[in-house]
Amino acid sequence: MLHLIRFELIKTFTRWRTYIGFIAFGIIVPLVVAGLKLGGQHSFERHLLSLLQNDFVIGGNVLNGWFFGFFFMGALWVHIPIVLTIVAGDQIAGEGNAGTFRFLLTHAVSRTRIIAVKFIVTLIYTAVMVLFIGGLTLGLSLAAFGSGDLLIIRRGILVIPEAQLPYHFLMAYGLATLAMFVVSSLCFLFSSLTDNSIGPIIATMAVIIVSIIIISLPFELFQAIRPYLFVHYFDAWQKVFDDPIPWGAIRTNVAVLTGFMAAFYLAAMVHFAGKDILS
């Protein structure tokens, strides 16, 4: 099994498309950080102070690296799926399109093992991508704006001491990774249904966009649907910045997201195990 994972990692990480996301975020994040450093920070400051200065005395470095790290995570979670689907959508469909299954599946290796290996590598890529973006945004923000306590305006105002922040961010990145695993799993499922890599990317993004619209609009009809949408549970990472941390709600989110991920994987496996390879 390990040698199959190694082969799959080689195949995935030697394709240039795998690095599109790294390159895109590697350019965008430094540009945004530079933009903030060279002036944009002041508009944030003005906005934040206008909200708080009547009630609080603000001191110290409020707009620090942790603050922008948190801000980036909130801003980018909708965009990260786009780069994840580029690889996840190609994992099965790409081989079908290229015709390489004709070699891969005529060996004495089971289809379930091959799909399991591909799924593991998809998750590895997803984790690497989320941690890369998290590390990059936080690292550059801390380098540009320094450290300090984190001020969060979410259901009230909360200040998390600097010493506790690495722990909170680590948990947040873990939960964000799990949410992105669900996105990749869905795309992986779509990838098993077709021999065209573009289809799974479009289908996954369509599901996410429609889901976001449903969870955002305050219609009564949509409220009943929300619990059945995986996007509804994506905010688990934000919960670790609440006080007290709602562990019960986080556990529920983790269980539901894991359930979605397992369901998508199993559906992909069942479909692929009985699929005629005609390409």
């Binding site: 040698h3 199959l4 082969f7 080689i10 195949k11 030697t14 394709r15 240039w16 290229a98 015709g99 390489t100 299954f101 004709r102 070699f103 891969l104 599946l105 005529t106 060996h107 004495a108 290796v109 089971s110 009985g274 005629d276 390879i277 005609l278």
Partner: protein, 304 residues
Amino acid sequence: MSDIVLRTIDLTKRYASRLAVDHLNIEVRRGDIFGFLGPNGAGKSTAIRMILHLVFPTEGDVEIFGASLAKARHRALDKVGAVVEKPAFYGHLSALRNLEILGGLQKPVTRKRIMENLERVGLADRAGDPVKTYSHGMNQRLGLALILLNDPQLVILDEPTTGLDPQGMKEVRELILELSRERGVTVFLSSHLLYEVELIATQMAIIHQGRLRVEGSVRELLKKGPSSVLLKTDRPDEALHFLGTQEVYRSASIHSDGIHVELDQEKIPELNRQMVGAGFNVNALVPRRTLETYFLNLIEGREA
């Protein structure tokens, strides 16, 4: 140990209302070079894909080395090497890396062994180049290098010489013969190039509209029924007149390449003797009944 390496048992594939393969029963014995023939759309590729478990049969089963594909897929495919249609590789990776990955799925292969196989198919000097820079012929040869890596006892080749130049076709034919003669490998190959099958196959089956039409020894099948020879002589008009006086020949007619004589297979030596005896110079006497004529007759319903 059974002599039968590959057996299809009522192998059937139905796509909606279309029957692609209809209760196919064939047997391939150890050491055979088995030619699997049929016109386009006859069901050859579907049958091969079912034999390799790429496509699931609607009905029936395949036994390879006695193991049922449906019940013991691993054991059935363990000693099989196959190239189905155009060989497809990971274009961004080198030939070396492709063989390491695709050849090492079952058990790891050493770099030395990979290089030996690349050397064998004449690709050693391009081992490090991305496969996307390879020509079609090079891909075909790389496909053969791949299947040889795991020392298969049954090699299944789907149109192995398609797209190759004459030299490439010859090399592939020689490699197949070498596999069969020197390594005792059983070869199952589909082809639309009947001449090619005639040159190397010992057994063959013809499939048409999804159904098996004939199966047997190539030599025996070619002996069946009337034969035809091309006779080249110095005086064709007189020779034709002479042939008209002889009752042993079914028919004779002049064509641009010579005289076409229809006769029974065993009368060919007699034809030569009579022509020489009558004072004609026989420049050539070439059998015209090939697998191609047999095949076409069968498909067109002129042959049982």
